[in-house]
Symmetry: C2
Subunit: 324 residues, 2 copies
């Protein structure tokens, strides 16, 4: 399978690392909006190409893995590329997924391509676990917890405050809430009861730290609904102690069967590297996209549409013999 | 969807309870080898039919859910019923799955039916989680732990010892082994290091308890490779304290991505009732069997072949809008 990577930030590098672990795939080209001559990639033999030349690669790429951002890149990029490529993206703006789906589905069906959206871990593996557990336990309740992990969006929001040089925000699930959910108590939990937010901030010399703190903890949509701690640290400490991008979380469904028997299903991720795990999910589903397209099954797809055997390098008979 | 239940023990009753939670399904008949007149079932309006009359129900049942045992019932029953019914079974003898698959596949393809085998939680949901995690993290290692829960097979093995009136055996995962696995240490664990076995035994009056204990702890294939505790209790205590059939377990995959970043995926079940949960899984997959058969996709299937959207009562657009 010949793979292209479209966009080469943290996620693009995560995808590249994952391709190297899958012997049935090779990375043939990385597409960038930057100057290709200035970009060094890790894979020997793969081309670095400007995005404006992407169409000349149409017949050389089986699946394009899109590594742009959900806010502005993917809503334009995914439908446009679906006109010429089978692809998978990690569009994660949950509330706008139906709109994104419709645009991508129209483009892919017209072109005869297979385009999978919203793949990764949430949306992605967490969605799958919500779906499986809700089908098995219709009389139940879902909970999703995120963290402990770095939220890029919240870190960016802090960086936009005047006087802030850099920042790292950790989303932290509240242990007591997790324990109550696991016990099958089915609690109603407010936003504040589920997660807290830890912020590590590097302030410019002379900046008013109290004012920065106040702007963070009251920021609507990001911090106002949470208990938020703000710790000012030096740039050296930030770079030394907070350079990783760990993340993870839990999807828990508690349900009842029969005469009130409690059943708890939990899926838990503990990730040293969020972009490398997301990249690994994208690569596994790229394999399924390739097979789906080969069967002539075109249009927009999601993780819900993929039979799990299609994700594997291992032949079906071997899966049945050794993994079932 | 019209459902039949073939066999009415603990699992059959678990399936019956699950059908009642799924408004798009109805139980139309329970098939039993016993005298149908002597069998009371929980569902009003469903028939109780002797297994010898099953063929007269051929056109009234969309999917038959088989609730026989794996040791002797299902190897005969599943291929035979696949000649006339779409079906799902919970065949759980892992090492003989390929043989069972071949027999069922031949019968189902010849008859034009869809027959899913080895559905439940292990094999079943645990298998799915092993597959997803291994596709995402090809450079990694799988661990499956079972318990704390009642093993029916091990309880039966104790009951066959002369002087034993009744017994209950719990399989218990060893916490220290779980902790080492979750830490990403990738330990090599012996059978004895992963699980221990707790036995609660009711001995006949005058029976030699030391001899019974010795027979249990040295029993090859069942207890000899484990640290096993044997506690003698009264029949009253057994019936009071050990009447449930709880179970569960963990599937954990630890893998490495990029430059040695550790990624841990864990799926965990904590079940008050093993047969009711297994029954609930069977019912969700029966829905997929019905849809698969309607598309003319015949033969033997497994959980690996089912696109998750096919398990749900909820239309695909709603799943995409609300669960992705």
């Amino acid at each position: 399978m010949n793979i292209g990577i479209y966009g080469y930030g943290n996620l693009g590098r995560g995808v590249e690392a994952a391709i190297a672990q899958n012997p049935d795939m090779q990375l043939v080209a990385v597409f960038t909006r930057r100057d290709p001559d200035g970009l060094k990639i890790a894979t020997e033999g793969a081309a670095v190409v400007h995005t404006s030349d992407v169409l000349s690669w149409k017949d050389k790429i089986d699946v394009m893995i899109l590594c742009g951002g959900s806010a502005t890149d993917l809503p334009e990029m995914t439908p446009a590329l679906a006109e010429n490529f089978n692809l998978v993206d990690s569009y994660d703006n949950h509330s706008s997924i139906p709109k994104h789906f419709a645009a991508v589905d129209a483009a892919a069906k017209k072109a005869g391509t297979t385009a999978m959206i919203s793949c990764g871990w949430d949306p992605g593996m967490f969605s799958l676990n919500r779906l499986y557990a809700s089908c098995i336990l219709p009389d139940g309740k879902d909970y999703t917890f995120w963290g402990r992990g770095v939220s890029q969006g919240h870190s960016d929001a802090i960086r936009r405050i005047p006087g802030v040089l850099d920042a790292r925000q950790y989303t932290v699930p509240i242990e007591n809430a997790l324990a109550r959910v696991r016990s099958g108590e089915n609690p109603e939990l407010t936003t504040r009861q589920k997660h807290l937010r830890e912020c590590y901030v590097v302030a410019a010399e002379g900046a008013d730290q109290d004012e920065i703190r106040q702007k963070i903890v009251t920021m609507p949509g990001y911090f106002a609904d949470y208990d938020t701690t703000v710790t000012f640290i030096t740039m050296e400490e930030l770079q030394r102690e907070h350079k990783g991008l760990p993340h993870g979380g839990n999807v828990i469904r508690t349900g009842k069967t029969g005469n009130g028997n409690k059943q708890v299903v939990e899926y838990k991720l503990t990730l040293d590297s969020n972009p490398e795990f997301t990249g690994s999910v994208l690569v596994a589903f790229a394999r399924a996209v390739c097979r789906t397209a080969a069967r002539g099954d075109y249009g927009c797809k999601t993780v819900f549409d993929v039979a799990p055997a299609d994700l594997s390098m291992v032949p079906r008979e071997e899966l049945i013999a050794h993994m079932l």
